[in-house]
Amino acid sequence: MGNKMIVPFGSQHVALPEPVRFVFETENEIITNVEVDVGYVHRGIEKACQTKIGYKQVAYVVPRICGLCSISHNMAYIIAIEKLLEFEAPKRAKYLRVLAHELDRIHSHLFAMAHVAEAAGYENLVMYLFRDRELVMECLELLTGNRVQFDYGCIGGVNRDLTPEVEKELRKKLKKLEERLFWFRDVYLNDYTLNLRWKGVGVIPKEMAEKYNAAGPVARGSGVRTDARAEFDALPYRELGFEMVVYEDGDIWARNMVRMDELLISMRMIWNVLDGLPEGNYKENVKGMPKGEAVCRWEAPRGELFYHVRGDGKQILTRMRVKTPTFSNIPVLKELFIGANYADVPAIIISFDPCLSCTAR
C-alpha cells in the first residue's frame, strides 16, 4: 500500500504558461484520477459576436481569441461567411491566404517544440528555436504589418498585396530558416537526451486516439490519418504539394516529429506559393447579407478548428460557434494520465501544445 496524495497542477505553474488546472490523485506517484478545469480565461467573445458586433467586424474580433493561431480563426470565419454569401475569392487571394497561414503554422510549431524541449531540460535548444522563430515573425511582420495580430484576411480576399520588395526579403529570410530547420530535424532525430526522455512516454494507442476523437498532431502522431487540409477545397492545398505526416508511435517523440515534418512541408508549400503566385486582384467587393447556415473546418496548427455561423439577412449574426482543437484533445489527455507517472505530467501536457485562451474564449 502506498500513500494517497492529491497534487494540484496549475492554474499557475512553472512548466506551463497557460491557465489550466489539473487535480491529480496519486498513489506512490502513479496517477489514479484526474480532474480538469479549463474555464479560467472566458471572455464571452461568442456572445459579443452574436449581439453587438456586425458580421464584417467579427472578422477582426475572432483573431483576438488566440495569439498563436490568430490567422486560423480569421480565415475559418471568413471562409464560412463567404460560403453563406456564395462568393469565391480570387485566385491570388487564395494563394496569399495559404502563404500567411503556413508562415503562422511554422511560428506556432517552433514555439510548441521549444516548450517541449524546455520540459525535457534542454534549454540550449529552446534558445536556438526561439532565435530562428524570430525570422518567421519578421517575415509575417513584413507581409501583414504586425507581429501577432495579423488581420490579414477579409471578406472578399486579403487586405494587403505581396509587393516585390517584400517578396525579396521573404525569400532571403526563409532560405536562412530552411537550413536551420534541417539542422533541427537532425537534432530531434538523433539526440541522445531527447530520445531517452521522450521515447515511450505518454503513449496514445491508435484505438484510444480514435475513440476519444483526438485532433491535429496528437492524432497524427498515433497513426490516425486526419487533416482538414487534405479534404479542404476552399484553398488550393493539393496544387501546392500538401502531404499528410503520420507517425505510428504515439509518444511525445512522435508528436514532435509530426510537427517537425509539417514544418518542412509548410516550407515547401511556401516556396511553391512564392514561385507560382498568379496575377490578378487580391481583393474583390462582396455584396449581400449572410442568410442561412454554414460550417467551416480548418486545420489550425493545433488541430481541427470548427466554425459554425448562422445569419438571417441582418448585420448581426444569430449564431456563431467556435470549437477549438485543444478542447477536443482534453478527453484524451485525461484518459492518458491515468496510470502515468507524475514526473511525466509537464512533458505530456506540453507535448499536446494546449492553448487555453482558445478553449475558454
Binding site: 474580433v61 483576438r64 513584413l142
Partner: protein, 158 residues
C-alpha cells in the same frame, strides 16, 4: 567535438542574436497610429460605424450642423486599418508606421475616454433632435411657400 569547437569560435566573433537595447524601429509597412485630417474629412462617420473596437467617436455640435469633432483613442484601437479602407475620401484618414506612446497615470486614458463616449452618445441624440426640428421647420416653410404660390396662381387666374 571539432564541430562544437568551430561553432563556439564562430559565436565568439559573430554579432549577438538579441537586439542591443532600446530603439528598435518598426519595419516599412507597419500598421501603426491612425492620423486624421480634418480639412479633407466629409463627416460621413463611416469610420465610426465600421470600427470593431469603437476607438473612433464623433462629438456632434448642438446646432444641428455637420461640423463634427473627431475623437480617437490609440489605447483602444486594434490597428486593423478597417477605417482607412472604408474612408471614401482619400487622405482624410491615414495609417502611419508609428507606435503610440505608453499612457501614464496622469493621462488617465480610461476615465477621459468614458466621458467622451457618454458625450458622443448624448450629443448625437441632441443633434438628431435638432436636425429633426430643422427639417420640420424647413418642411413647414416649403408648404407655406407652396400654398402662397398656389394662392398667387389663383389670384392671377382670377
Amino acid at each position: 567535438m571539432l564541430k562544437m569547437f568551430i561553432e563556439s569560435l564562430k559565436n565568439l566573433f559573430s554579432e549577438p542574436a538579441t537586439l542591443p537595447g532600446f530603439g528598435t524601429e518598426p519595419p516599412k509597412g507597419y500598421r501603426g497610429l491612425i492620423v486624421y485630417n480634418k480639412e479633407k474629412c466629409i463627416f460621413c462617420t463611416k469610420c465610426e460605424l465600421v470600427c470593431p473596437a469603437g476607438a473612433i467617436r464623433f462629438i456632434y455640435p448642438e446646432d444641428g450642423s455637420r461640423n463634427l469633432e473627431y475623437k480617437y483613442n490609440p489605447y483602444l484601437c486594434i490597428y486593423c486599418g478597417e477605417c482607412v479602407r472604408e474612408c471614401p475620401k482619400e487622405g482624410a484618414l491615414i495609417q502611419t508606421d508609428k507606435m503610440p506612446e505608453p499612457a501614464t497615470k496622469e493621462d488617465n486614458p480610461n476615465e477621459t475616454w468614458f466621458e467622451i463616449e457618454k458625450l458622443a452618445e448624448e450629443s448625437k441624440k441632441k443633434w438628431q433632435l435638432a436636425l429633426a426640428k430643422k427639417r420640420q421647420e424647413a418642411l413647414k416653410k416649403a408648404q407655406q411657400a407652396k400654398q402662397g404660390k398656389k394662392e398667387d396662381n389663383q389670384d392671377k387666374k382670377n
